[in-house]
Amino acid sequence: MTGSTWQIGKTHRRVGAYDRMRGVSRYTADLKLPGMLHAKIVRSPHAHARIVDVDLEGALALPGVVAAISGRDLPTPYGIIPWTHDENALAVDKALHVGDGVACVAAEDEATAIEAAAAVRVQYDPLPALFDPEEALASDVRINPYAKKGNLTKEVELAFGDVDAALAGADLVIEGEYRFAGTTHAALEPHCALADVDGDGVLTVWSTTQVPHYLHRELARVLELPARRIRVVQPPLGGGFGGKSEPFDLEFCVSKLALVTGRPVRLLYTREEVFYAHRGRHPMTMLHRAGFRRDGTILGVDARSTLDGGAYSSFGLVTTYYSGQLLSAPYALGAYRFASRRAYTNKPACGPKRGHGSVQPRFAMEVQLDKAAVALDLDPIELRRRNALEADSRTINELRIGSSGFLDCLAAVERASGWKERRGRLPFGRGLGVAGSTYISGTNYPIYPNEMPQSAVQVTLDRSGRARIFSGASEIGQGSDTMVAAIVSEELGLALEDIRVLSADTDLCPVDLGAYSSRITLMVGNACLSAARALRRVVTEAVARAWEVPARRIALVDRVALDLEEPGRVMPIDEAFQRAEAEHGLLTAVGDYRSPTDRHGDYRGGAIGASPAYSFTAHVAEVEVDVETGEVHVERVWCAHDCGRALSRRLVEGQIEGSTYMGVAEAVFEHHELDVAHGGLHAGPSLLDYRLPTFLDTPAIDALIVEAPDPRGPYGAKEAGEGPLHSSIPAVANAIYDAVGVRLDALPFDPPRVLAALRERGVRREGAR
């Protein structure tokens, strides 16, 4: 660890901020190439139907229509997880949900493409559709044609210790059934892709993806092209949140159509299509039992979950594991068992959304703890404190925890919210609730098994006193470009604006696996740090030789090299770089990151959930409940998050605020709902009907940074992008209980549901409990 704070821990203007603020950043949808065609996908109006015939002739006959394809043109199945290739770019034999892609047309302009899509004649033979996971698991109707076990996409059962004995011997057993309604990401930017084939036959695909490398691999598979003939570029992205972390139909379609026509082809989803692409948070039903000793010690937890997966696997194999594996911290559990099942249904596929797989069970777990605190007459913060895992310990499922600032997080929200002074003294209808959580900083194992580094960065210094960073990382708004720039500027004494970051281009940049699992700060950060330090050595040694002093006396800060023992002696940084280049040759270095393989248990599935380092979070929410209308107003939320070390302060605060906002939105507003009575149509695939909170509906959020540096992170840094979401939802639930004495075990806490719960408990006008 460096003691310097020249850049690390400061507040930075993010890389590219001016262009974004002025509206001149060129997103994928802004790219235009000469001769570009516009494509449109024909989508199934049926939730489940056999495709009898796709007649493209009517579309092709229209003036301005250049090409059309159907599922049979792209028959190779794919999927983000190598063991579950259960999707086709366009449906081949069956459409599996309303909005499933069936054919695609390319035309001279978008209006013609829209007309052409309407002119494609698809003959369907409707099949029985299944919308409920339990019904799907019990049914003989098989939804996904590639499924290996009927409608069961994945099942995991793991036990650690004797849970039955622990529960039998407990002073208190809390049992509850919890339901999480599905939610979606709703990134501002809809998915878009543009493909072009150059004279040498190289296909370039610009796409709104969070995972250029995985997209690169899947394009090669489905298009049956060697990967060396494909280039994937990710332009600036307008938000991802997990909704762009696997390949989608449009990327295959524009590629195929570009190959067929020899012209650039572009496809931009409508907002409605974004809802059909989905991959949002799984609806989950969770049966939790937890046993406690009188002093609050958690003796055992038994968790059984059913995941409603939608029509495809997506990341579902991992989601199913995460729904149990990531529940084993931040508390020491005496014994633990979980059983999770994921079912196919005729709905848009679920996948990873910020806090993948563990946000739903975290809700259940933290409400269970709150119920126990009430039953045991313990302060809920104190109950959590008593059970907190220590730093450098192992969870019951054998994940190795490094640094932990969890207790500091609890203390921070306790202090900031005035918990001790205010809780229990608020008027009826107003309440405070607490919850805690943990999350991974990347996964130790990549999605496809390989021995190569997970991340790599190349840094080059030039004679004008600048640095170029070639980073595989996907900047999706989280600030990864700024993060690597801060590291290079720290190590080489440059100002942030002296650094050019080129990222997420498979031709120019080394491979990084993508922006998911909160992996980039730790993994790409470490790779970048190792490259930057190699260059720093070369530069300081060159300066040291010029001054005939030992290299350890040389510091690089504020665009100069200086002698720490003779502060008057300075050399401009460009001159230092020139001397180093003269001695050493081109100043370039690579760094990569390999994840540890010794931080998990030796059992099947034990590696899933294993991370180099874990972040910790605590939330306190303050709510006002209107007992006559059922409205829950989340007034203020305090979130303390242990990110190891904040490399760039405002970015961490932004992630805490954004995560908390998203969690509160899921708690009170959002529901990705299908109208089952009308054939499984989406209930309202628009941003008018899918209600995200506006600024006026957003609580005041206090972002409290806690730093427990982890030796495995760059400068001690861990993740901050997803962890600060988890406990926001149960904190709101627990605050509602504190306000009105009513438990809400099903999400979202919308006014009709809240009012019904209040009525059921006989709570009416103010004060009448």
Partner: protein, 322 residues
């Protein structure tokens, strides 16, 4: 989503506008309601008639014992007008509650009064409606809200209509055939496929709000899940006229029930009563009794109905405290 091509006419005078409408043109003012329906391919007019050059529709003045507002006044202008604040504060309140700041800059008084009634089965894309099989108001012949229903029950969702009806406002329409003035309440029909009596060649010119003849307290209550953007899910315009003996008249107009704003009946009996909490509770029961929301907009109808009771009572309690 993309707009289908159309011809845009920009008349410089009312006569030119009337002629364009008579030839089948469709009027467009701010476009905030019309353009989304065109993008959804709900219909495909060949010719739109922009009203933005018709300065006469921008009127705002006192005329006799009333306030005249041109149909082209933006919601933002209505919301911030000193004249409206003085003579019809509930109208300013309703205008300020509409949509979001950007949409209020574009949306107009006339557009809001002519808002196309909304329904969860109608305000959707062409693809979505096709998958549904259409309905009375779109490409089909069934109603998904009232399955046996023969008349469309799409919900009139204008914020201004209930406020203006509660103030006994009238509207003036004109065409090449002449002009006519009628009570705003009579302007609307209980049919979601065509909920006004406006003929296709007619233009809404202005609204006239008569001044109060005595002490009056009013409020417009809009309930929606979010504090901005959303259309109302409950809309209640409440007017209480006062005399020395107490209340002389209570008027409640509820919107977002069916295609026509509902003037709540049987409120005469409250004349002579004091404006107090007891009155508030009793009026709230009458409103609850008469206002029966349907699942036409995406929200639980039972919850909406309960809100009618709670919000009416609270609004009247607040008026009593003023």
């Amino acid at each position: 989503m993309r707009l289908a091509p159309f011809e845009l006419l920009v008349p410089a005078s009312l006569d030119e506008a009337f002629e364009a409408l008579a030839r089948g043109g469709v009027p467009i003012a701010g476009g905030t309601d019309l353009l989304p329906t065109l993008k959804q391919r709900r219909w495909r007019p060949e010719r739109l008639v922009s009203l933005h050059r018709l300065a006469v529709l921008q009127a705002e003045h006192v005329e006799g014992e009333g306030l005249v507002l041109g149909a082209l006044r933006s919601l933002a202008e209505v919301a911030s007008s000193p004249l409206v604040a003085e003579h019809a504060p509930m109208v300013a309140q309703a205008a300020a509650a509409g949509a979001s700041p950007q949409l209020r800059e574009m949306g107009t008084l006339g557009g809001n009064l002519n808002l196309d009634p909304r329904c969860r089965y109608v305000n959707q894309s062409q693809f979505w409606r096709g998958a549904l099989g259409g309905c009375l108001k779109s490409e089909g012949d069934v109603c998904h809200v009232v399955p046996s229903g023969k008349r469309c029950v799409a919900a009139m969702s204008s914020d201004l209509a209930p406020a203006l009806i509660a103030l006994d406002a009238s509207v003036t329409l004109a065409s090449m055939r002449g002009a006519r003035t009628l009570r705003l309440d009579d302007y609307y029909r209980a049919d979601g496929t065509a909920n006004t009596t406006r003929a296709p060649d007619e233009l809404l010119i202005a609204v006239r709000v008569p001044f109060a003849t005595g002490p009056r307290r009013t409020t417009y209550v809009k309930w929606r899940p979010r504090k901005s953007i959303d259309f109302p899910l409950v809309a209640l315009a409440i007017r209480v006229d006062l005399a020395e003996a107490g209340v002389s008249r209570v008027c409640v107009v509820a919107n977002v029930l069916g295609a026509k704003p509902k003037v709540v009946g049987r409120l005469d009996r409250f004349a002579g009563r004091a404006l107090d909490a007891a009155l508030a509770a009793e009026v709230a029961e009458v409103v609850f009794e008469q206002c029966k929301p349907l699942p036409n907009v995406p929200w639980d109808p039972a919850h909406r109905r309960e809100l009618h009771r709670v919000l009416t009572r609270r609004a009247l309690e607040e008026l009593a405290r003023r």
